[in-house]
Symmetry: C2
Subunit: 355 residues, 2 copies
């Protein structure tokens, strides 16, 4: 365990789009940031779950891929020189006393927070912004014996829960399992690329957007994919970690063996607040309760923004998280510099460092 | 006066960036919109006051010109086929009774609003979003005798309060008057283009961003512009509407005559709510008081978003206005379809029309 203690104005937990934009907003107010994320790269769900999926509701982008949005936001944050601590989870968050920023000798210490990560990194900060999205997340895995042997293989083979590069699946025999939007979207997209595509669902009816369901059936009629319904996953066949077939069964126990190189189960995500649940913050249905106009939680100096924060009428939209990040940054500025009138300027007049 | 009555789900007052994004958010919730703006083109202040100025705090755009942002937002709204009524002001807003959207025969009418514009256009809507920015705005004009004769000339001559195309000023003899950020920004920018540039201010000290003030003095030292301080505007000289010189005077009445083709006075904007102030909405310092999580005003069915709306900790940032527009659209959806559970989907799964 390395024991490095960092000192910063604001510690941000979560490097998803909203965490990245919080760096920018803090930077515009001359607050430095350290950012911790459990994943190995910035971007949160956008990077991990759907990097190539287009998003249509980022204001000013009629259409942008998740990965590109993350890149732009990282670029926007960069002039403020955030320090990233990636591949580590914040395990502990505890109050501490800090000398205020720019303190003169003999000045009283102020209340702050100390974060300790799973890698032993220690960060002491005047304020904390929790932008942890859905918390730690992972796919719901189907209960198939020996499935682990087929996980984590190369992109074009075995069992995958996320698809980073659809191109890697070109020409493969693919089984998609699931009945929700992810299963539908990927079925529609992969119908173009696959050598053979089976779509398995345990009911006749799919749960997704009506327009997507119609597209799925049209593709099935055109022979671009085969609907195998109502069936569910039964077992996997293969050797030495190489998948050869997916066995499915109907409600009466009748079985079919589908030759396949790749199985893509889309059974949703399990979310898990992880250690955040133990920090004594007021929660409502696993979300952190905040003041909508500042992001303040019930613990002074801790703020929450984005999908993990809740308040009446809350919308889980990235664009709302951006606004919440701006409001939290301003609230933190007032908290850390209570006696200083901020000479507030717009970005058009002030610009950003190096611009 | 034409008397056309339109019927729509939502009437949006103001076609600035936030009004345009409100069209998109309403569209995603299957609410149609009509949009009214006093200006002749969408974009509000962005288009009218600083189309070529870069903005640095639009999330996902490290730098974007105001005019380009407006273009992107218009494009994003377009699939939802908003109807624009430009070059007209909403003069009256009064309650009316409407049959609900998709009403069956005999169904009770519901409360709505009727808008009447300065051109006689009548719009009946289930809800209204006021996204009118600073309201009607105009430049503060210096009190110089006969100044009108020099206004509204071609771009490269006479008196201008806004600059749409800096290039039109290349090679001209220019006088800039004012001591704030606009005067500073344009002085710095036009120092590169002008044949001769005078910067007049009635004090020695400028009020803008410290970094801009430093740049101004550096340009003055390099001979790229001439600071004429402390001086103020005295009179204009010219013939047949063609400006020939600007006369300035110091505190003791001493005069200087500066030969010039163009005078650019930057004495700030006067804002004016106009008829909005008479609609009986609760106001606080000329802004409309709203619920921060819905944009609801104190009159049912009327919402306000963006710079014209206020609540505790409010930030006048475009990005916050975007979020406010999303919250208002959802609140309106609940209001207009109270018995209908919205099958809420993300833009990534649902897409937009034609995408």
């Amino acid at each position: 365990m390395t024991e490095t203690t960092h000192r910063t104005d604001v510690a941000i937990i979560g490097a998803g789009p909203v965490g990245l934009f919080a760096v920018f907003e803090c930077g515009m107010l001359q607050l430095g940031c350290h950012v911790v994320d459990a994943l190995d790269a910035p971007g949160g769900q956008c990077s991990a779950l759907y990097p190539e999926k287009p998003i249509f509701d980022i204001p000013g982008y009629p259409r942008i891929q998740a990965a590109e949005l993350v890149e732009r936001l990282s670029e926007q944050a960069a002039p403020f020189r955030p320090v990233y601590h990636l591949g580590q989870r914040v395990d502990r968050l505890e109050p501490c006393r800090l000398s205020p920023p720019g303190a003169k000798p003999g000045e009283e210490p102020v209340d702050g927070w100390r974060l300790v990560t799973s890698k032993g990194t220690v960060i002491e900060a005047g304020a904390v912004i929790i932008a942890a999205g859905v918390g730690a997340f992972g796919p719901n895995r189907p209960p198939l014996q020996g499935i682990e042997a087929y996980e984590g293989r190369g992109e074009g083979q075995g069992v995958h829960y996320f698809i980073a590069k659809p191109e890697s699946l070109r020409g493969e025999r693919i089984v998609i399992a699931g009945g929700g939007d992810s299963a539908l979207d990927w079925s529609i997209l992969l119908a173009e690329l696959a050598d053979k595509l089976y779509v398995i669902h345990r009911r006749e009816r799919f749960r997704g957007a009506p327009d997507s369901v119609a597209k799925l059936h049209a593709l099935a009629e055109a022979g671009r994919l085969e609907l195998v319904v109502p069936y569910q996953l039964d077992s996997l066949e293969g050797q030495d970690g190489k998948l050869e077939a997916v066995v499915v069964r109907d409600l009466d126990g009748g079985r079919r063996q589908l030759e396949a190189d790749v199985l893509l189960p889309f059974f949703g995500l399990s979310m898990n607040l992880g250690p955040i649940a133990e920090w004594g913050l007021a929660l409502d249905k696993h979300l952190i309760v905040v003041d909508p106009v500042s992001g303040a939680t019930d613990r002074p100096g801790i703020y929450a923004v984005g999908d993990i924060a809740t308040y009446p009428n809350k919308l889980k939209l990235i664009l709302c998280g951006f606004s919440e990040a701006a409001l939290a940054a301003h609230a933190i500025r007032r908290r850390l510099h209570p006696h200083e009138e901020l000479h507030w300027e717009y970005s058009t007049t002030k610009g950003v460092p190096g611009a």
